[in-house]
């Protein structure tokens, strides 16, 4: 656990301990790889006794959540630790967490030594907790519960060392999602409306490498001599944001980027509300703004770390805009920006038409140079070359050379080659419209709704070089610099490939070839039948046929050779 060393008591005065007290804190620890680790802790201290026999049942709850209080008193729980984790903590890359937790759900409980049927209490407790946290903790039963004899000693006060009163279970398969976060947030005194809990928005919290929320309840001493005891409820939430997935590759973090919110006020029910930023590696690794004069040192996990402290109970933390947003920017990212860069994407909607956009960036500050763009588009995306537009800096840029070979269905693809002059420090966009074809059912891949791939565009150019190059051919040049022959001193040949595209085509129903043939042939046959009837038959007056008896009589008469009836 992290220990906080206060620099003196609050405002230098001693105060009688309140009946219940709430503290909230957020610790932000930047990691070397560019990721960032945020740890929330919310602690409620309550000077009451759930387990005292003969006393009136506790009924007036203020800061302590009633659901948990009732659970503690009903099942005679001494200590309760429950955690829900998504992801695995990577110790080698991230160091040690403040509050460790295994992936999935973990629950371990110390029952009071007055409990006679621990297993029964355990079963009921897991079901009740399952309801409180909307998790499937009801899967905890005797098949996955153990009673560790030495590993999980009580973290709070407790004279029960008999491990018969301890139960431990994990559900590694349990998934954590918004449904678990919402009841967890509801246990907080301010809910998710004020204080640090406003930062807990699920769409950002779950888009992370590691997410863990836990509830720890234990009895603790209120002072050094342990004259009075209190119940401590700690709710912790640890999250690690990956700078690739959440940070869009940039090593720069702010509260807004991490949580899509900024802080506007502390929880009014909190006696202390602080944000700590680990600045031990500052200023070499990153820079922090806004700066704060408050510093604090702490020894945590065997290491002395320095923290910048932001006290949210003070109004000046929020500044003029009344919102507090931290900004951490990693230094040392002065990679040389490439001079030529290209991207490609498909625009449009629906399965009929679309547009291919190719964007080419010239990042040279003052030199313009020509590039050769080659596009090879498969035949089933019919390009319309009259819709080709090339714009640079929102003005038309006519290519000086266009070679276009249109596609032949099922024989060859489209080939488009253009020589475009790129103005300095600009973005050039090439757009062309296409129509999607319906293919024969045998021409689709086994997974037709995945889409069809369009190969990368190739941008070839002679880019002006910052450094003069030698055109002499030497035998002992390293291999990496001798691939492309150097023809001129002032420019080098570069080839840039864009992204391939994935395009969906309309699909016929693959289960229906026989049905389609039958139905279409039926319609054609209906036409044929009607015309045949009308062409080969003539109109006649309908004379009703004579009744059966008469026909039979006529038949017999015909055989006899006698004249027939009318």
């Amino acid at each position: 656990a992290a220990f906080l060393l206060n620099d003196g008591t609050k405002n230098g005065e001693t105060f009688a301990p309140a009946k219940d007290q709430f503290q909230e804190e957020l610790v932000i620890r930047p990691l070397h790889s560019g990721d960032i680790y945020a740890s929330f802790q919310f602690r409620t201290l309550w000077d009451t006794d759930f387990l005292q026999e003969g006393q009136k049942k506790v009924s007036h709850y203020r800061l302590f959540p009633k659901s948990l209080g009732q659970v503690l008193s009903k099942f005679s729980v001494q200590e309760l630790h429950i955690s829900f984790t998504q992801g695995f903590w990577r110790t080698m890359q991230w160091g040690q967490p403040f509050i460790p937790s295994p992936p999935g759900a973990e629950l371990w409980v110390w029952f009071h030594d007055t409990v006679s049927d621990v297993d029964g209490n355990w079963k009921e407790l897991t079901n009740v907790l399952s309801g409180i946290f909307c998790a499937s903790l009801n899967f905890i039963d005797m098949t996955n519960t153990v009673q560790p004899s030495a590993s999980f000693k009580p973290l709070g006060l407790g004279n029960a060392t008999d491990h018969r009163f301890l139960r431990y279970a994990t559900l590694p398969r349990e998934i954590v999602c918004t449904e678990n976060l919402t009841p967890w947030k509801k246990l907080l005194p301010c809910g998710s409306k004020a204080g640090l809990a406003v930062l807990m928005k699920s769409e950002k919290l779950f888009h992370s490498s590691f997410h863990s929320q836990a509830v720890h309840i234990r009895p603790i001493c209120q002072d050094e001599q342990c004259t009075s005891k209190a119940w401590e409820l700690r709710q912790t939430l640890n999250v690690v944001f990956d700078h690739y997935t959440s940070g869009q590759g940039k090593k720069e973090w702010s509260l807004f980027k991490m949580f899509s919110r900024t802080l506007t006020e502390a929880c009014p029910l909190a006696s202390s509300s602080k944000v700590y930023v680990d600045i031990t590696d500052n200023p070499e690794l990153f820079e922090l703004s806004p700066a704060t004069p408050l510093l604090s040192q702490a020894v945590v996990l065997g290491d002395r770390r320095t923290y910048s402290v932001y006290d949210l109970t003070r109004a000046e933390t929020f500044g003029q805009l009344r919102s507090f947003n931290l900004l951490l920017r990693w230094k040392g990212d002065n990679m040389l920006r490439p001079l030529l860069h290209a991207e490609r994407y498909v625009a449009g909607f629906g399965l009929q038409t679309g547009e291919i956009h190719t964007v080419i960036y010239n990042n040279h500050p003052y030199r313009a140079f020509p590039v050769l763009l080659m596009d090879s588009v498969p035949w089933y995306l019919q390009l319309y070359i009259h819709t080709l537009t090339v714009t640079s800096k929102s003005r038309d840029n006519k290519p000086s050379y266009i070679h276009y070979q249109p596609a032949k269905d099922r024989h060859r693809p489209h080939l488009l080659e253009m020589l475009i002059q790129l103005p300095p420090h600009s973005m050039t966009e090439v757009t062309v419209q296409f129509e999607r074809a319906l293919l024969k059912w045998t021409e689709y891949t086994p997974d037709p709704n995945h889409g069809f791939y369009v190969g990368s565009s190739v941008v070839s150019a002679l880019v002006p070089s910052m450094v003069a190059m030698s055109t002499n051919f030497t035998q002992d040049q390293p291999l990496f610099s001798s691939f492309v022959p150097v023809k001129e001193e002032s420019s080098y040949f570069v080839r840039v490939y864009t992204e391939p595209l994935l395009v969906n085509l309309p699909t016929p129903d693959f289960s229906m070839p026989y049905n389609v043939i039958c139905l279409t042939c039926t319609v054609v046959a209906v036409g044929y039948g009607s015309f045949y009837n009308l062409l080969t038959r003539t109109f006649q007056v309908d004379e009703p046929s004579p009744p059966l008896a008469k026909r039979l009589a006529n038949f017999i008469r015909r055989i006899r050779g006698v004249p027939l009836l009318a």
């Binding site: 596609a407 319906l438 279409t520 007056v541």
Partner: protein, 409 residues
């Protein structure tokens, strides 16, 4: 007579001009029911752009118009709107003429001059404001019929050759035109008479000769015979399976590869197959034969559009006197109306919303073609029945004097 006609024409011009300028024109010109790979305006523009780039428009698979279209549009591409506005009028005028011609022959019926112009609107509305060369093709066919009815064999032959050159299917109109001329010149259709063969050979010579001349001219435009596989090969072998209102696309999208050639032959023969039996049955009624042939072409051709449907529907008012003998007209009109409403809905659901699949659109295609077949066969039945009544009297009696019913036997 002239005043209401001119008034109606002016109203028609105004409506069409307004529709052309509206945003509806762009929306409709993209719809698959209205344009097909053969006659889409977008493809014409693409072909001209390819020509400007120095590439032959026929080297790719996007342009399927004949070289004469390139000639025509190369100079008038800026005035394309006017061309498309003017061409449907030929169809209008023709249907007026047909109505008047039939009225002159048979003294039944009232003035349906206004009705046939009005009738054009629902049929033509969609295709006229679409930018597609179908309007031009229809205009050529309408002109051909006009010249035939006026009796000019030379012009008729040339225009028929032009229509055949544009899309092969009007070849079947040779027989009815020939029959009309024979009837007009009082030459009996008798294979042993030399006068019959004399005229037939003359007409055939005009027709084939103009066809050869036009094809030769097309060769000299681009200096190659590339246009033949691109245009006629395309019409016959149906490689492009873009959905349309016809029966071909889904059939060949789901066809087993082994039978593809067989069914292509079957479907293409199906279009030409009815010519000879119909000509034999209707040899005294060539005008109706023309109508039947056009209808059959519109239903069974490889890339039909609503423009082709509008072409034969424009002639329906000429046979408004058959109304009393039609048996299924209510059902047919309901089916056609419902299908017209459902086509864009199911297309949207398949292509844009993604909640339907191709089967929905295909089903409406089937129903639409079925309705068309029913319509055409109904009119054929009514025509034959009327002919029977003309010869045998309107109120028929059975042998015992009670009212008789007519059946086909």
């Amino acid at each position: 007579m002239a005043a209401p006609l001119t008034l109606l024409l002016i109203v028609a011009v105004t409506i069409r001009a307004v529709l052309f300028r509206s945003s509806l024109a762009e929306l409709i010109s993209e719809r698959v029911e209205v344009v097909s790979p053969l006659n889409a305006w977008k493809r014409v523009v693409e072909g001209l752009a390819l020509l400007d780039l120095g590439v032959s428009p026929y080297s790719g698979d996007v342009f399927h118009e004949t070289p004469l279209m390139i000639y025509l549009f190369h100079f008038t591409v800026d005035y394309a709107e006017i061309v498309f506005m003017v061409s449907p009028y030929f169809v209008d005028c023709l249907s007026c003429l047909l109505a008047s011609l039939d009225r002159a022959k048979i003294a039944i019926g009232s003035n349906n001059l206004k009705s046939d112009l009005l009738f054009n609107f629902p049929g033509c509305l969609r295709h006229i404001i679409s930018f597609s060369t179908c309007g031009l093709n229809n205009a050529i066919i309408a002109l051909f019929i006009f010249c035939t009815l006026k009796g000019s064999a030379l012009l008729s032959g040339i225009l028929l050759a032009l229509a055949t050159y544009q899309s092969i299917y009007p070849l079947t109109l040779f027989a009815p035109a020939l029959l009309f001329f024979l009837q007009r010149l009082y030459i009996p259709v008798n294979l042993r008479r030399s006068s019959f063969w004399c005229f037939t050979l003359q007409y055939a010579f005009i027709y084939v000769g103009s066809l050869v001349v036009i094809t030769g001219l097309s060769f000299f435009l681009l200096g190659s015979w590339d246009f033949i596989p691109s245009v006629y090969g395309f019409i016959f072998s149906v490689p492009d399976l873009t959905p349309n209102i016809g029966l071909f696309w889904y059939f060949f999208a789901e066809m087993f590869e082994h039978f593809r050639l067989f069914f292509i032959c079957v479907f293409q023969i199906n279009v030409f197959f009815y010519t000879i039996p119909l000509s034999i049955k209707l040899k005294e009624h060539p005008v109706f034969l023309i109508f039947m042939q056009i209808a059959i072409i519109s239903i069974f051709k490889s890339y039909p559009t609503v423009g082709d449907v509008a072409l034969y529907m424009a002639f329906l008012p000429a046979w408004s006197h058959l109304y009393r003998f039609l048996r299924n007209i209510f059902l047919v009109s309901c089916v056609l109306l419902a299908c017209s409403a459902l086509f864009p809905v199911l297309w949207h659901l398949w292509i844009y919303a993604g909640s339907a699949n191709s089967n929905f659109y295909y089903a409406i295609t089937l129903l639409f073609n079925f309705g068309q077949i029913l319509l055409v066969s109904d009119y054929f039945y009514a025509y034959l029945r009327r002919e029977h009544h003309l010869t045998h009297g309107l109120y028929l009696k059975k042998k015992d004097g009670t009212e008789a019913t007519l059946v086909l036997k």
